[in-house]
């Protein structure tokens, strides 16, 4: 592992590269998409509600009802005056809620009827809604990751396969989930690596990938910085060419800039690589052997000083070949 940056970059690229592409592609989707449509709200409308006055004869809840209650609200739910007792106040509506609802005129427990839910759903849908099914669903909800409360699911018989989710606690429409929204959900799942459907990004898998990706990108940047002088040189210095000096075991080594148009033996002297030579470059002594993975012809001098096996392994004499013909070299 003579080039740790290249090594790290290559193997991390193999591990996290696919996720990096997923992040880029899903990112482009989020950047490009119209979020109102992608969230399933193309046909969603807010229902105008008229405030009904509270009736004269609302009853007061018995004191025992207030034990452990964090908040009590007197309001209308589906045009019915109700008390709602909140036993917890979660920071987000998708978190588990603990609410009891009582009819404010009778004091009896109150919940939405299927018919009311149907009306709420239809009123939130700007086209004619043909409803084929209404059911109270319990978490986890396939369509809504991270939702911890039971929700009414109203199935609309339309081409986009819209499901309208209504909260049994507040009577409010939580979401219109149609095919556009389902695609959006998949994109979010991929972007957050949220395969456990938690609805969030605070989990170990994405943390590991994020850290590995940082190392991947960092190693790439450092590698680029290391190679930058070479690359700039290669572009701006005419008459010179980069050559890779391989390790003796054949693994990749360092790069050097050497003069073009000379025989290898002489060209390498400019970077202080002095191959042994007795005859001074005549092809007579056979001392200046080198090896290259590049394909080179075999000269008479090569044949005279190198065995057939050596020739087959790319061994030649440095005085016989131009530096222009090779890009990689290893020397004994």
């Amino acid at each position: 592992m003579k080039q740790p940056l290249a090594f790290i970059h290559k193997w991390l690229g193999l591990v996290v590269g696919l996720q990096l592409l997923i992040w880029i592609l899903t990112g482009i989707y989020f950047n490009w998409v119209d979020h109102r449509i992608a969230k399933g709200n193309e046909l969603r409308q807010s229902s105008s509600h008229t405030v009904k006055p509270f009736p004269i004869d609302i009853i007061d809840l018995d004191e025992k009802h207030f034990i452990g209650v964090k908040r009590v609200e007197l309001t209308h739910l589906a045009e019915t005056p109700v008390y709602q007792l909140y036993y917890s106040l979660p920071a987000h509506n998708n978190q588990k809620q603990d609410v009891k609802t009582f009819h404010a005129e009778t004091g009896l427990p109150f919940s939405l009827t299927q018919n009311t839910v149907k009306n709420i759903a239809s009123n939130s849908y700007s086209a004619e809604a043909e409803i084929s099914d209404i059911e109270l669903m319990y978490p986890p909800h396939t369509d809504l990751a991270g939702e911890e409360n039971p929700l009414w699911r109203v199935v609309v018989n339309d081409s986009a396969q819209t499901h309208i989710y209504v909260s049994p606690i507040t009577g409010k429409v939580i979401a219109h989930v149609n095919n556009a929204r389902r695609l959006h959900n998949i994109m979010f799942m991929l972007h957050f690596m949220d395969y456990a459907k938690t609805g969030g990004f605070n989990h170990t898998l994405i943390t590991v990938f994020a850290v590995l990706n940082l190392i991947f990108v960092g190693s790439g940047v450092l590698w680029l910085i290391k190679k930058l002088p070479m690359m700039v040189h290669a572009v701006f210095s005419s008459g010179k060419k980069p050559i890779e000096l391989l390790q003796n075991n054949g693994s990749s080594g360092v790069h050097a800039l050497v003069p073009k148009g000379e025989v290898i033996l002489h060209s390498l002297r400019n970077v202080n690589i002095h191959l042994p030579s007795i005859c001074g470059g005549g092809g007579v002594c056979g001392s200046c052997k080198f090896q290259t993975p590049d394909t080179l012809p075999v000269t008479e001098a090569d044949k005279a000083h190198c065995s057939p096996q050596e020739l087959a392994h790319g061994i030649r004499l440095a005085c016989q070949h131009s530096i222009d013909a090779i890009s990689k070299i290893s020397v004994p």
Binding site: N31, H203, Q291
Partner: protein
Amino acid sequence: MVLTDIHFIHGESLLKPATPISSPTVPFSELAKAYPRADSVTLLTIAKSTVYKVEFEDAATHVIDAKTGKVLAPISTSKALAIAQQSFADSRYADKIKSIHYYSETDSPPSDVSPRWLPFWRVEFDAPLSPTLYIQANTGEIVSKRHDMWRLFDWMWRFHIMDYDDGENINNPLLMFFSVISLFGGVAGATLLVQRLRAPQATQKGEVI
């Protein structure tokens, strides 16, 4: 971003958990008679006192003392301070107030809070991460809680979506430009990787020397 707990970022740990209400002296039925046209009447605890919050459809709000039935005046400086100190979770710093400032409906609010809560009090604690509570001036409710990690996260979000003015527009052309370039980079990198893994380095042949 994935390393920091999003609930911590939202400042959910800055406040003490809500305390249960005590049963009101003035009953709901009287409130319903007094304000039949209200959208909702809510009984809640604000800084140890139980109050009714009466909300109307036009967003008008009254706050009424549940013991006396009197309409309460907007929150004063000392009341805002008391609310902030009694709600702050970290008792070591609860009485260390760095600054308190009132923002009226016509003021431009600080960038880390929504203008829809105006008018409000801004109370900053002299504590690590400069925790700040925003207290709605009419109701006394804590409408927003911020600290330096939230502010940092907000900037990270702007970098994430490359929207540097208000951090709200994901559909911006700058992000499209750079993400498409990144896609080219990513595909080129993947191609290089496949090539490198498929064809073992030519140099590996020369193991004789």
